[in-house]
Symmetry: C2
Subunit: 160 residues, 2 copies
C-alpha cells in the first residue's frame, strides 16, 4: 500500500482529485470529455496531472450538481464565473428556476409520501388476494391529482 503518486499541494493525480472532491474518477474523465473540465497536463506516461484551478472548478461543478442543477445550467454558471464583468442576472434566473423545480418536487413527493403511508398502514398482512396495497394499486379511481397534461410526468423520476 503506497501513498498516492505525484501528490503535492500544487499538483495531483485524478485519484487524488477524486478524493478531494468526493467525485469518482470516471466521472472526472467524463466531465472532461463533455467539456466541463479543461483537459489537464499529462505525465510522460499519459497520466492526468491536475492543479488548484481544476480542483476549484470541479468543486463548483459538484456543488451545483448536488443542488440539482442540470449540466447545461452548470455549464452556463461556469461560463459566468469565467466572465466576471457580466451581469449576474442569468445566475439568478438559473438559481430561482432550480428553486422552483425543487419546490415543485417537494410538493409532489409529499403527496406520494401520504399515499404510500396510507397504503402500508392499511395492510395488515395476510394473503395477497386480500392485500390492501395491491388493491390500492389496482384501484382504477385512485386519488392522484396531477393535472391532465402533466399526469404521468416524472412522478417516478422526480429528477431534480
Amino acid at each position: 500500500m503506497h501513498h498516492p503518486p505525484c501528490m503535492t499541494a500544487q499538483s495531483f493525480s485524478i485519484g487524488e482529485l477524486g478524493r478531494r472532491t468526493r467525485c469518482k474518477v470516471q466521472t472526472i474523465r467524463w466531465y472532461e470529455e463533455v467539456g466541463l473540465l479543461p483537459s489537464p497536463a499529462r505525465t510522460e506516461g499519459g497520466h492526468r496531472v491536475y492543479g488548484p484551478a481544476h480542483l476549484a472548478r470541479l468543486d463548483f461543478i459538484r456543488h451545483a450538481r448536488e443542488l440539482g442543477f442540470p449540466l447545461d445550467a452548470v455549464r452556463a454558471l461556469l461560463a459566468l464565473t469565467d466572465r466576471p464583468e457580466r451581469e449576474c442576472e442569468e445566475a439568478h434566473a438559473l438559481a430561482s428556476s432550480q428553486l422552483a423545480v425543487v419546490e415543485d418536487k417537494l410538493r409532489r413527493l409529499e403527496t406520494l409520501r401520504v399515499e404510500l403511508a396510507r397504503m402500508t398502514d392499511a395492510c395488515r398482512g395476510g394473503v395477497a388476494g386480500e392485500c390492501r396495497i395491491l388493491e390500492t394499486l389496482a384501484d382504477h379511481s385512485h386519488g392522484h391529482c396531477a393535472s391532465p397534461e402533466h399526469a404521468a410526468v416524472d412522478a417516478a423520476g422526480i429528477t431534480a
Copy 2:
C-alpha cells in the same frame, strides 16, 4: 376526423388504451416488449387489440409507477396479484421500502430548498464577479451534510 376504430366496451385499440390510462402509445408497446404487459391479440392487419384485463393491468402499472416504484418492483407486485394465495409480505416490504426512499428524498430536497433559497435571497444583482450565487457554488466549505459514503449520491437525481 373519424371515431377511434374497434372501440367497444370489450375490445379497443392501443390508442384508446392509452387514452384510458393516460399512457403514451409507445410506452404501452415498450411495456409489452419488456414483459410487463402480455402481448395482445392482433387484427388481420397487425394492429393490437386489447381487452379489459389489459386495461386493469396497465392501470396497476401506471399507478405503481406514479408512486415511484421502479419497474422491478412493479414486476414483483404484478407477480403477487397473479398468485393471490401467497402471503403479501413482499408487497408490504416493497411499499415500505418505497416509502423510505420517498421520505429520504423529501429530507434531502428540503435541504436543497433551504440552500437554494438562501442563495437566491443573498444575490442582490450586479456583476457576476460579485454574485453571491456564484460565490456560494464556488465555496469549497459549503454546508452540505450528507454522510461521506452517500455524499454525491443522487442529489441531482432524486430519482424515486
